[in-house]
């Protein structure tokens, strides 16, 4: 979790929820309960959240406040979930979204 800020010069050590594990495309990752899914993904170095339906180009976090919908993913089977404003929970299953499917385009 090298992208985590251990101690901030102004904010100090930020309070976090319980450490939890979740699945991202089958890989077990760690994060903190209640933080946005997108924050846990960025901390784990994951940049790509989805591929667009028409052009098949990658997208990631853009606004981080639930406005732009660029960071949507499939969460517990439901597509188009804004990961930047959806709190992380233990055991969540997060998948890259291809169009609106969890399957890469060549398998659709």
């Amino acid at each position: 979790m090298s992208r985590r800020i251990a101690e901030h010069p102004i904010l100090g050590v930020q309070e976090k929820g319980e450490k939890v594990t979740f699945l991202c495309d089958g890989e077990i990752l760690e994060g903190y309960e209640g933080e946005p899914i997108a924050a846990a993904l960025r901390a784990a170095g994951i940049m790509k959240h989805r591929y667009t339906k028409k052009e098949h180009t990658p997208r990631g976090i853009f606004c981080a406040i639930g406005r732009c919908t660029d960071c949507v993913m499939i969460v517990d089977g439901k597509p188009n979930i804004r990961t930047c404003v959806t709190p992380l929970k233990q055991g969540m299953k997060v998948q890259t979204q291809y169009g609106v499917s969890p399957k890469p385009f060549e398998k659709q």
Partner: protein, 526 residues
């Protein structure tokens, strides 16, 4: 359908301020906010605010947010979160989406304080993961404790671009460059100077040609632009970065007002589509008020005052107070608001080149193009003086509404006077004791303590320092000049930390005597 005296949309600085003033006068108030947490952007603002002591200067934004929330809750204001207002209709009825349900409310008065949304610009590769808004960077680092990237290029030299660049440095990211298509730095010079002395190069009259990378950002190419903002061939520069941050302005989120049928105008000086409103923030529809960025993009300090005025005006509209109280309170707040709207960065000066300060001193052109005041420009400012013994050097060169330094000095060495935008002046007759309170109080981190006669051949410079790890006494490193270039060896003589400094540490470094006027930052030897 549930009814309230006053429904406020948006729990940011202006909405909360309005709710507080309304509730104080007996109104039953509810505040809806679409976010999970209240406070709007205040909780991402970790720098000390400008302005006057009466208006929360030198308090950090997130602390102001906590104060507002506490005050609102003590007054019985109900703040409903995760609540998106999706429509505002006739007779001040509105619909709110909370979780998966739509609820119907009616307000006898409505206050729209929805703030503003970030603008963006497009360029080749702008959709790649790794291209983010400056607000996103702030959200990730200051709310969630995650670095947005490792090496970042910032586009935009307004206050948002400058402040966020500094915040990125504070959380341990590297800022490869600060770029703006405009020919001059748009934000406060002191914000630029903080970033420049950390070694971040400024590229004005430059913009992004393309973001590079297949699956996510791996680099960026910028190039110089001419007066018509066309790329000049052959001026391309490449940077290896993993993140590109866009800070290219804000636009009012005024959609609800449009839905409601308020008269609107397109006003570039206020940031775009804004409602036409009177001095109290009342729109063309009686009883619908606005405050904060939604009615014209400004700073949080002015948003809070606008909120107060609109909250009091709503109380008067509903008959809870008389017109006399409204007029009296309005005059007080108006004076404060006018104070904040003075100086070089006043709304009417947006985009104008100002060549002289109110005192008639030429403005540093290097500051406007490179982000720092040049050697041959610094001596012209009244805060930059030389004398025996320890004394403050104030590198404050632009007229901005801010005066905490004046109150900070227990010996009254520093004077701004009654005109809040004046440049600070050192009172030569008052004796500085080197306490450093002024250094910590300056929201712009533009005050240094200098002692030229510390010991033979050496002087000391005390600098404000808001980074980790904190240097240790005795440690050796380098003095960096205003441009971030290493200019000399430096030894840490003292590190002062105090509660009153509010996380601004005072670092005293010993440097060769000819460097006391140059060394303005410190970096440890690797």
């Amino acid at each position: 359908m549930k009814r309230y005296d006053l429904i406020v949309v948006g729990a940011g600085p202006s909405g909360l301020s309005a709710a507080i003033e309304g509730a104080k006068r007996g109104l039953q108030v509810v505040v809806f906010d679409e976010n999970e947490k209240p406070g709007g952007q205040l909780f991402k603002q970790i720098h000390k605010f400008f302005g006057s002591k009466e208006h929360k200067a030198k308090i950090r934004g997130f602390v102001i947010g906590e104060q507002l929330l506490k005050e609102a809750s003590e007054l019985g204001v109900k703040v409903v979160l995760n609540a998106t207002v999706t429509g505002l209709y006739m007779d001040k009825e509105l619909v709110v989406k909370i979780a998966d349900t739509i609820y119907h409310y009616k307000g006898d008065a409505i206050l729209i304080a929805t703030g503003a949304a970030e603008n963006m610009v497009t360029f080749e590769g702008w959709t790649l993961p790794g291209v983010i808004g400056a607000g996103a960077a702030q959200t990730m680092m200051n709310l969630h404790g995650v670095k947005p990237g490792n090496r970042i290029l910032m586009l935009g030299s307004g206050n948002v671009g400058l402040v966020v660049s500094f915040q990125l440095l504070q959380c341990g990211c590297e800022v490869a460059a600060l770029v703006d298509a405009a020919p001059r730095v748009g934000g406060y010079g002191i914000h630029a100077a903080k970033v420049a002395r950390c070694g971040v190069p400024f590229y004005l009259s430059h913009t992004i040609v393309k973001a590079e990378g297949e699956e996510c950002v791996t680099g960026v190419t910028i190039a110089e632009v001419d007066k018509k903002f066309q790329f000049i061939p052959g001026t391309e520069k490449h940077f290896d970065v993993d993140t590109i941050c866009l800070a290219v302005g804000l636009s009012p989120m005024s959609q609800l007002l449009k839905i409601a049928g308020c008269e609107m105008e397109d006003n570039p000086k206020r940031g775009g589509q804004v409602p036409i409103c009177n001095e109290y923030g009342e729109t063309s529809i009686k009883g619908i008020f606005v405050a904060g960025d939604v009615s014209g993009v400004e700073e949080a300090s002015s948003a809070m005052i606008e909120g107060r005025i609109a909250g009091i005006a709503a109380a008067q509209y509903l008959g809870y107070i008389g017109i006399e109280e409204l007029e009296e309170k309005f005059e007080e707040n108006k004076a404060a608001l006018e104070g904040l709207r003075q100086g070089m960065f006043a709304p009417e000066n947006r985009g104008k080149l100002i060549e002289r300060t109110e005192e008639g001193i030429p403005v540093s052109m290097n500051l406007l193009t490179k982000g720092y005041i040049a050697e041959d420009e610094i001596e012209r400012y009244p805060g930059v003086t030389h004398r025996a013994g320890i004394h403050p050097v104030m590198e404050c060169s632009q007229n901005i509404p801010c005066n905490p330094c004046q109150d900070a000095c227990p010996r009254h060495c520093i004077q701004i006077g009654s005109h809040i935008t004046s440049l600070p002046v050192v009172d030569e007759s008052a004796q500085c004791v080197g306490c450093g309170l002024c250094v910590a109080a300056c929201s712009g981190q533009a005050i240094f303590l200098v002692q030229e006669d510390y010991e033979p051949g050496y002087g000391t410079v005390t600098i404000p320092y808001e980074f980790l790890p904190l240097p240790q006494k005795g440690e050796k490193g380098y003095g960096l000049d205003r441009s971030g270039q290493r200019v000399c060896e430096a030894q840490v003589m003292e590190v002062k930390t105090a509660k009153t400094f509010d996380h601004t540490n005072l670092l005293t470094i010993r440097v060769p005597v000819d460097m006391v006027g140059k060394a303005r930052f410190y970096r440890k030897s690797c």
